[in-house]
Structure formats: structure tokens, C-alpha cells
């Protein structure tokens, strides 16, 4: 064995240096940790404008409105939607507002045991449908834009396939639709285990248990290295604040209703029904060919939860001809929070939606489920020909009734009903879109709330 040449003096000098550094860091860190830290998340001002059971709708107003059609953000049931507004300089919501978009965001709340029987159908065909109707009515628009995130993206896909007449453009981000892949560990585990029964036994799938599962996807990095990184930077106030914000978001995990969890794992992860257009919600088949509106599909190249293979088949299976796939060089969360993607992701979505804004079709049958080509041509012709109607819709949208104010004065329901009557009296025969709007309004049994976030 050859004699090793170890630079002992160099190593000892390094140890001394590092000990000094660590000492200084700990001193500084104690100052940082004991000082007042700004670790608030979701600080962009909003108001709750709709509420039903545990589900609430957040409304964000831009200072200058440049988009006619509002955007509804549908987040996953796993973790909280606050991730889209994690910190002021890395906020997807704020970027949308800066682009003049009016944004609505579903806050799914915290399911309790009472919600254990709430299914995917209830989420898609009840809560989301009611919220979409509420926004359509509020803005006097037949269609709105929808952007889904992860599991919320899968819900958006299901909704758009079942209610294409209400969706103008669909944006899916890190959305799993093809579950038949071994690229992601989640896919392997969900297919080969009885994890779906956890929700049934615990009544809801416990958020903490899911979080533990996510940590175990990469224990070396997520349980060890992450905190080593924190230790090395804990003398940096900005770093600590951002780190704590992320920790707050990561471990704020609501439970997932048992019925929804069970169906999502068995029908999607195990049977892969969604991409095959075989998934059924309350007896209605989710046919992806019904998705005839423009589709923008964005996903992360290094996403360990929803790998590209789980996302990139969607656009090939939908009925729309106007589709675009974008694969960003980032991970599952990086799309929304990394500073690099802040400059790419949200501005791209805003631009893409703006390009497809056009004019609102006025007379599209609400209940029609047309095939792809028909719907596509309808949409195009309507955009070209119905400029005045579009402008009307836009002007109506420019000053939506302040839900919060109405609720405060106790005139929410009556005020809506009155405006609906006045519209009716001014028209001899209502268009299908209007009928649909009315239906949505009547259907909205949810309450409006006026909780103003300071």
C-alpha cells in the first residue's frame, strides 16, 4: 500500500477557519432569530367574495385592469393555495395583478371529518361549478379563464371537459393527467400500495401523513440537507425569512377528504382513467375531447412529484387545436417560487391569455356539448364578429359589484335577484348564455362574505 499524502496542516487550518466562521455565524444568527422577522405569507390584499361550506373564494383586484376576462386559480387539495402568493417579490398572484388581470383563487379550507364523504364530483361539479357561475354572473360573462395547479389542474381538466361552455381558456400547470409512468416515486408508491385506504381509515387523509410521505420522497435532501443549508445561512435575515415562509407553507397541510383521496388514487393513479377519457364523475364521463378551448400546459423538467411524463400527454388528448406545452427547467414548486421562473412563468401565462382574449361570444348554448371542431369554429367566429358584445361584457366586468360591500349591507341575494330581473325585462328572449348565467346565480346557494384581509 502506497503511503498517503495528507495535507494535515491544510486541513487543520481549514478546521480553524470554519470553527471561527461557525462561531461568528451563530452569534449573528442569534441576533437575526431574535429580531422581528417578516415571515407573513399571502400578503397581497384580497377579499373573500364567496363562501360555501369550507370553501371560499378570494378576489384580487389589479390597480389597472388590462384583461377583460378574469382568471380563476384552482389549487390542489394538498397544501394551501398561499403558495401562489408566498412572498411579495415572488408572487404569481402579484405578477398577474401587475399585468392587469383580475384574479380569483379558490381557498379549499380545512376539511374536517364532516367532509369525509365529499367526492371529486362534489369538488368539480358543485364547488367549482358554483364558483365559476358566480364569477360569470359577477362579470356578466359567458366564459372565464381557468388555471389549475397540480391536483387542482386535474380538477380543472375534469371541469373543462364537463362544462366546456363556461371555460374560455384553460391553463394547466404541473398537472398530472397521465398516471401510467414510473418516473415519479409517487406513481410507483400509489400504484403498489394500499395507501388509498389510509383516508378511509383516518376518515380523511391526514395532511401531516401526506407531508411525511413527501419528505420521504427524498429524505437526504428534504430532511437533512435542507436544514444544513438553513444552519449555514441563518445569519442572513432575508434567507431566514424566506426559509420560514416556505416552512410555513409546506407544513400547512389540510387533510384531504377520504372519498376524494380514495377516488383520486384508485381511478387516476391506479387505473389511469383520466387521460383515457374513461373517468366518471357521478355517472358522467370525463371526455377530454370536450376540451375545445385553448389549452396552455406548463410543467417542470425536474418535477419529482409530477414528472413531465405525467403532464405532457394532455394536449394530445384534448379536442382543442390551440394547444401549447411548455417545459420549464425547474421542479414542482420552483415554477411558482423560484426567482428565475417568476420572470418566465406568470408573464407567459398573462401574455398567452391576453392573446386569446378576443371578444366574447354571446350566444353559445349553455348546455351544448359540441365536438372539438364545431366548438372551435364557433369560438373563432364569435371572437371575430361579436365585438360590441365583448365590449359590453368588458365594461360590466370593469366594475363588478363589491361582494363584500353587498354582504355588509345585507343585500347580496336580493341585489343579485333584482339585477337579474332587470336584465330579463330588457330582453324579449334570453340568450342561452344569459340563461346559463341566471341558472348559475340561482344555483349559488353559497354565502358571500366580506372578510377583508388587511
Amino acid at each position: 500500500m502506497s503511503q498517503s499524502q495528507i495535507a494535515v496542516d491544510l486541513i487543520l487550518r481549514k478546521i480553524t477557519e470554519q470553527t471561527e466562521k461557525a462561531k461568528s455565524r451563530v452569534q449573528k444568527a442569534s441576533e437575526v432569530l431574535l429580531s422581528a422577522l417578516n415571515t407573513d405569507i399571502a400578503t397581497t390584499p384580497f377579499e373573500y367574495v364567496y363562501e360555501e361550506d369550507r370553501v371560499r373564494l378570494k378576489h384580487y383586484r389589479p390597480s389597472k385592469k388590462e384583461h377583460k376576462v378574469p382568471l380563476l386559480l384552482i389549487y390542489a387539495l394538498i397544501n394551501r393555495e398561499t403558495m401562489l402568493d408566498l412572498q411579495p417579490d415572488r408572487s404569481v398572484v402579484q405578477t398577474f395583478l401587475n399585468h392587469g388581470m383580475e384574479v380569483y383563487k379558490i381557498d379549499w379550507g380545512y376539511p374536517t371529518k364532516k367532509d369525509q364523504y365529499v367526492s371529486i364530483d362534489d369538488h368539480v361539479n358543485w364547488y367549482i361549478d358554483n364558483i365559476v357561475d358566480f364569477i360569470r354572473e359577477r362579470h356578466n360573462l359567458p366564459k372565464i379563464n381557468i388555471m389549475g395547479i397540480c391536483m387542482g389542474g386535474a380538477f380543472s381538466v375534469m371541469y373543462s371537459a364537463l362544462h366546456p361552455e363556461k371555460v374560455k381558456n384553460l391553463v394547466t400547470t404541473v398537472t398530472p393527467t397521465n398516471f401510467d409512468t414510473d418516473k415519479g416515486l409517487l406513481h410507483i408508491w400509489m400504484r403498489n400500495s394500499r395507501a388509498f385506504q389510509l383516508g378511509d381509515t383516518y376518515r380523511n387523509m391526514p395532511g401531516d401523513l401526506m407531508n411525511l410521505g413527501f419528505l420521504l420522497l427524498n429524505p437526504a435532501r428534504l430532511i437533512l440537507d435542507k436544514y444544513v443549508g438553513f444552519f449555514e445561512n441563518m445569519d442572513d435575515k432575508d434567507f431566514v425569512e424566506n426559509f420560514v415562509r416556505m416552512e410555513k407553507w409546506i407544513f400547512d397541510s389540510p387533510d384531504v377528504p377520504a372519498a376524494t383521496f380514495h377516488q383520486f388514487i384508485t381511478d387516476c393513479y391506479q387505473k389511469n382513467l383520466l387521460i383515457q377519457s374513461k373517468l366518471e364523475l357521478n355517472g358522467k364521463r370525463v371526455d377530454l375531447k370536450n376540451i375545445t378551448m385553448p389549452v396552455l400546459n406548463i410543467y417542470g423538467q425536474f418535477d419529482h412529484l409530477v414528472p413531465p411524463e405525467a403532464c405532457n400527454l394532455l394536449t394530445k388528448h384534448v379536442g382543442s387545436r390551440d394547444t401549447e406545452d411548455i417545459c420549464l427547467k425547474t421542479g414542482h414548486i420552483g415554477i411558482y417560487v423560484s426567482s428565475k421562473c417568476q420572470a418566465l412563468f406568470a408573464p407567459k401565462v398573462a401574455k398567452w391569455l391576453k392573446e386569446r382574449e378576443g371578444d366574447e361570444p354571446k350566444a353559445e348554448p349553455a348546455d351544448t356539448k359540441t365536438d372539438a371542431k364545431t366548438a372551435q369554429s364557433k369560438g373563432v367566429s364569435a371572437r371575430k364578429s361579436a365585438a360590441p358584445a365583448g365590449i359590453t361584457a368588458s365594461s360590466a366586468a370593469a366594475a363588478p359589484p363589491a361582494g363584500g360591500l353587498a354582504a355588509k349591507t345585507g343585500e347580496t341575494g336580493r341585489g343579485k335577484a333584482v339585477s337579474a330581473k332587470s336584465r330579463r325585462s330588457g330582453t324579449k328572449k334570453k340568450t342561452a348564455a344569459e340563461r346559463s348565467t341566471d341558472a348559475g346565480k340561482k344555483k349559488s346557494t353559497g354565502k358571500k362574505a366580506s372578510v377583508r384581509k388587511s
Binding site: 369525509q116 414510473d182 403498489n192 381509515t201 330579463r424 340563461r435 341558472a439
Partner: protein
């Protein structure tokens, strides 16, 4: 042997004396004249029909009791009874023997395992994970201990007893499955340490050792991550994880059953009660929604026809 015989005879005598005093007591209590009725200051002439009936029942019961205990106190039967009692030490001895057999077996297998320590550990391969220890542990439990928890329960509380036994059983199985899962997470650490040792040896031979410890850490975490990635994708891990999930599910269910027994006695709703209530509530709400939508559609149609 004589001493044993003597002790046995003494026990029989004591038992026979006690039995006699008991039967005499109940004989007095059940006398047609006096007895319980007189204890409460009632003269025999004023005995109501109910009291007479009660006395008669007591008398019958007393006679049955006397005949039963007289039969038991019969020397021959007493001998049988005490013979039965003599079998208890045999039973205990058998139980202890089986338990120790299991423990010795486990110890032997652990010793065998210890002997394999130091053998080469293959990096990035998890097919050779030693799950034998856990399997042995589980087998010993299932063969030697578990059967005691499955001894048929008797009497009024038999179901409750069964549920408690089931909880102990499921808890043990869950702990075993969890230990195995946790062991799985330890294996990459062991393998990474071996890889690091090799790497550092090679680097030392070449004189290319890192001066900064952070570099060693980076190398270690990278190797560890690689090991975890390989492990977590492996069918062996998935199987162990699935076993742990299943064991956890069974344990939680068993715990709920016992909790249900406990809570049932208290003036609080149980989980089962609440589940039923939530389900009814959910179904009713759903029905109302469907009906509301139907009414709205009908109203729309009507108003459409009117317009």
C-alpha cells in the same frame, strides 16, 4: 409425596368446613319460619303473597346452591377439583417454556446475524437487505405469542376482551412492521458510510483529500441521496412500506373498536355515531342540491316558454 398428600388432605378439610358453614347459613336464611322476612320485622301472619313467593324462590335457590356445593364438597369431587388446580403450574410451565423457546430462537438468529457483520455491503443494491431479523421476530410473535391473544374469550364481556386482545395483537404487528420500515431507512446510511470509506481511502492514496469538510459533506449527501433514490424505487421497499401501511390500518381499526367500547358507556357520541350522522347529512345535502337544480331547470324552462 406424603407431604403433598397431607397438604392436599388439609386443603380438602378446610374447604369442606367452609362449605358446610355456607350451606348452613343459607339453610337458616331460607327457613319457612323467620329467615329474611323476620329480619325485616315482618310477622309470618302478615306476610304478603309477594314475600311468600320471594321466600319460596329463595328456598329453591338455596336448595340448588346446597346441592351444588354439597356435591362439590364431596371428597371425591374435591380431589378432582384440586387435581385440576394442580394442572395450573403445568400450564404456566408450558407457557414459559414456549416463550423462552421463542426468545432463544430469536437470540440464536441474532447471533447468526451478528456473525455476518463485516461482510461486504454492496452499494446501490437493496436486494440483499437483511430482512430476516424482522421476519424472524414476526414469525416468533405469530407462532409463540399471538396464539395466547387468540384464546377464546368467555362470558359477558367476551367481545370486549376479544377486541382488547386484537388491539394488543395489531399494535405488536404494527410496531414490527414499522421497525422494519425504519430499518430500511437506516440501510442507505450504512451503505453510504461504506462507500465514503472506500472513496476516502482512494483519495488518500492519491493525496487528493479535500481540505474543506463541506466537500466531504457534499459528497456524502450526494451518495446518500443516490442510495435513497435506489432504495425507494425498489420493490423491496414498496413491499415493506405497504406492509407498514396495512399494519397501521389494522391497528387504527382495532384501536377504534376498543375506543368504541369505552365511549359507548359515556354520554358522548362515538366516531361510528358521528360517521353515520355525517353520512346522512352529506346524502341529504346532496339530495337537496340535486332537487334544487332540478327545480331551477324547471323554472327556467317555464320562464323560457312564457317569454
Amino acid at each position: 409425596m406424603n407431604e403433598e398428600k397431607k397438604n392436599e388432605t388439609n386443603a380438602e378439610t378446610v374447604f369442606a368446613d367452609w362449605m358446610k358453614s355456607v350451606t348452613d347459613f343459607w339453610k337458616d336464611m331460607a327457613k319457612p319460619e323467620g329467615g329474611i322476612a323476620e329480619m325485616f320485622g315482618m310477622s309470618s301472619s302478615r306476610k304478603s303473597r309477594t314475600v311468600r313467593q320471594a321466600q319460596k324462590n329463595l328456598e329453591t335457590g338455596s336448595k340448588i346452591f346446597q346441592s351444588l356445593f354439597s356435591s362439590v364438597s364431596n371428597p371425591e369431587h374435591m380431589e378432582t377439583l384440586f387435581k385440576g388446580a394442580d394442572t395450573l403450574p403445568d400450564f404456566l410451565s408450558s407457557l414459559t417454556r414456549q416463550t423462552w423457546d421463542g426468545i432463544f430462537d430469536l437470540q440464536r438468529k441474532w447471533m447468526e446475524r451478528l456473525a455476518t457483520i463485516g461482510q461486504e455491503t454492496k452499494a446501490y443494491s437493496f436486494e440483499d437487505i437483511d430482512q430476516e431479523t424482522f421476519r424472524t421476530l414476526r414469525e416468533i410473535y405469530e407462532k409463540e405469542f399471538r396464539k395466547f391473544l387468540h384464546i377464546p374469550s368467555l362470558g359477558l364481556n367476551r367481545f370486549q376482551q376479544e377486541r382488547v386482545n386484537n388491539l394488543i395483537d395489531r399494535y405488536t404487528l404494527f410496531q414490527t412492521a414499522l421497525s422494519e420500515l425504519l430499518y430500511m431507512f437506516y440501510v442507505p446510511l450504512e451503505k453510504t458510510a461504506a462507500v465514503m470509506q472506500e472513496e476516502i481511502e482512494q483519495m488518500a492514496e492519491k493525496g487528493e483529500l479535500f481540505a474543506d469538510f463541506k466537500d466531504y459533506y457534499n459528497m456524502w449527501i450526494k451518495v446518500l441521496e443516490g442510495h435513497y433514490m435506489t432504495l425507494l424505487k425498489s420493490p423491496e421497499y414498496t413491499q415493506v412500506m405497504d406492509n407498514a401501511i396495512e399494519a397501521n390500518l389494522q391497528y387504527v381499526k382495532a384501536r377504534e373498536e376498543v375506543m368504541y367500547d369505552l365511549l359507548q358507556k359515556l354520554p358522548v357520541p362515538t366516531n361510528r355515531d358521528m360517521d353515520d350522522l355525517y353520512k346522512d347529512f352529506y346524502l341529504l345535502k346532496k339530495k337537496v342540491r340535486e332537487l334544487a337544480r332540478k327545480v331551477e331547470r324547471d323554472e327556467q324552462q317555464k320562464s323560457g316558454e312564457t317569454l
